[in-house]
Symmetry: C2
Subunit: 361 residues, 2 copies
């Protein structure tokens, strides 16, 4: 019998790049941005193409648990993991892995993100299925997913493909992970055909992954195993776990020959729409004839290719003239920016916190 | 003894070009835009350089009387005239003229506007004083004020200077009034040196002005005299008065030889800052080092030459990037436009009323 497959969806982060829609209390994955659905809900529905609902876990911030429960009523309470505070991605991967290993030592986990729109879902499902099959057939494999780049994006990390993995055409050993490149380097990566975007999604046997953590970050290993065995210690233990990314702690060292596993990559031949900011959000929403996207009560005139999001009932947001504007209105904060400048929202949020006060962020 | 001097300040209009700050219930002259003062208050303080407070009348919409009283506590109730509805400018001039003539048959009136910032006030006071002296010395004179143009503005009417008025160097007979010109015509006017902007301010003996109204618009004459004698008939009578501008009804015909008076002009050698819209408002407010004007709780970043007006406490308005933006936030409506497009606000207001509802305008 094949080992059992699970999905863990990560839905954390504060999502400051979608401020003021997303706030410290409302990460972007919980915003009902796309056709009335949240990105988390969309990710959950993708996961249900892979495994039944009772084998989907969600790891999120403890503060968001109520919202997640409301958004995903199909997920049982024991499958919702709420981090008392953000402790970076190693813990967001290792903790659910430990929880699942405690329940099922043979568990194979697809650790998926909820930040993107992915199309077509069928290609996504096929790629994750291939990754599960690799993890099942090759116990030493830590499978990472690589998106075939469509542009020389400087906002993603890249991975360099190595030798093809025997028996799994298309899959390959990862030669090296690369940080977010500058524009020139990104162009060279894409031109070479040797690089994929690092999707930040992984498939592995829980035991294999945890064994790498044991070798590379033994204190975290001990911590998450303790948490899995004694969930009531969460509040006490979680804050003591080392804050480090899973790439930096596990995938990069293992790709360089540390640890005992092997990092392999499976291509995701999909349109990868990262809804990380307003410039990408506008691309996934339906525009009117002038290229404007208007959500909520809004009036545009002589305006084109602009985004208006108004969450306040009984308030009208109007845009007169201009091109590529972004106007976001919420009960206590309004943002006016351009698609070009929307990447800087995070920096703006810092300034808002300093000058207007932390209650606005 | 010289006849007594009076000032009438006109403060009407709905000011849609400053929507959403100005609304049907709040014309722009009552907005506290400049250093916490309204344009009306600033006009009143200018008037007090000319005459004592008890000789200043204000004519406004009946709906605005409470606001005007609060803004100008020095003005006695009998000197506040509230029009039950807008009936164009002839009535706004003729009604107070009739009221003052009833009290003082020799009254000389300076009929002033409250739409502009005027600098220096000393030059304004000197010019109005000169105009009073002409009206006192020449009972046949209807004196109009002409602003020496600084640009070939297409938003103002012009007047063409004729012969110099004997005994009053600088003053002249008005040869002709001209409607708002196109850009080419405006440039020719300014290049000729023969044209002044029509300031829409007048100085005349009440009796002289009313006599022209009697000759040119006898029904209006009868109507306003009746109102002055029996103020309690206001609600019944005012709405029956002919709706016509004072230029069209009196000044233009008299300048063409109709009526028995003579239109003369005195130059106003002032900076004339018409606060008719956001593009002009931004010019009279104090900007920061980036050229931004921020009123209320606002945060700008990588933004220049922009105007942020936020009237809502506890709400932050942020602008990230962009140049020449206008962002105006009020409790129930937000406007985002550019200085370039701000002239079209009136058209936008029409669309807002149609699509979002009349409560917003």
């Amino acid at each position: 019998m094949a080992p059992m497959r699970y999905v863990v969806i990560m839905a954390g982060g504060s999502g400051t790049r979608l401020w003021p829609l997303s706030r410290q209390g409302t990460p972007k994955q919980l915003l009902h941005l796309i056709g009335g659905k949240s990105l988390l809900r969309i990710a959950f529905e993708r996961a249900m193409e892979l495994v039944p609902a009772d084998r989907v876990l969600v790891v999120t911030g403890a503060a968001y648990l109520d919202d997640v429960r409301a958004d995903l009523p199909e997920v049982a309470p024991e499958n919702l993991l709420g981090e008392p505070m953000g402790r970076d991605s190693l813990n967001a991967v290792a903790w659910p892995a430990a929880v699942l290993a405690e329940r099922d030592p043979d568990a194979v986990i697809a650790q998926l993100t909820a930040d993107q729109l992915i199309e077509p879902v069928s290609a996504f499902v096929a790629a994750i299925d291939e990754a599960y099959r690799i993890a099942e057939a090759r116990p030493e494999a830590l499978v990472t997913l690589g998106v075939v780049p469509t542009t020389a994006h400087t906002g993603y990390g890249y991975l360099q493909r190595g030798d093809e993995l025997e028996g799994f055409p298309g899959a390959c050993v990862v030669r090296e992970f690369r940080e977010k490149p500058d524009a020139e380097t990104a162009a060279a990566y894409v031109a070479s055909g040797d690089f994929w975007w690092n999707a930040g999604m992984f498939v592995f046997r829980a035991a294999t992954f945890l064994d790498q953590v044991r070798q590379l970050e033994p204190e975290v290993h001990e911590g998450v195993l303790g948490l899995a065995a004694a969930p009531e210690t969460l509040g006490e233990v979680f804050g003591t776990l080392k804050k480090i990314s899973v790439d930096y702690a596990v995938f990069e060292p293992v790709s360089r020959g540390h640890g005992s596993a092997r990092v392999v990559a499976v291509p995701l031949p999909i349109a990868w729409k990262d809804v990380g900011g307003y410039a990408s959000l506008v691309e996934v929403l339906d525009a009117d004839a002038e290229g404007n996207v208007v959500n909520g009560l809004g009036v545009t005139m002589n305006t084109s290719d602009s985004l208006v999001m108004n969450t306040v009932e009984g308030h009208v947001v109007t845009v007169l003239g201009g091109e590529g504007l972004v106007v976001v209105h919420t009960p206590d904060a309004t943002l006016v920016t351009t698609l070009e400048h929307a990447e800087q929202v995070k920096a703006l949020v810092g300034r808002v916190s300093e000058t207007a006060g932390p209650t606005f962020v």
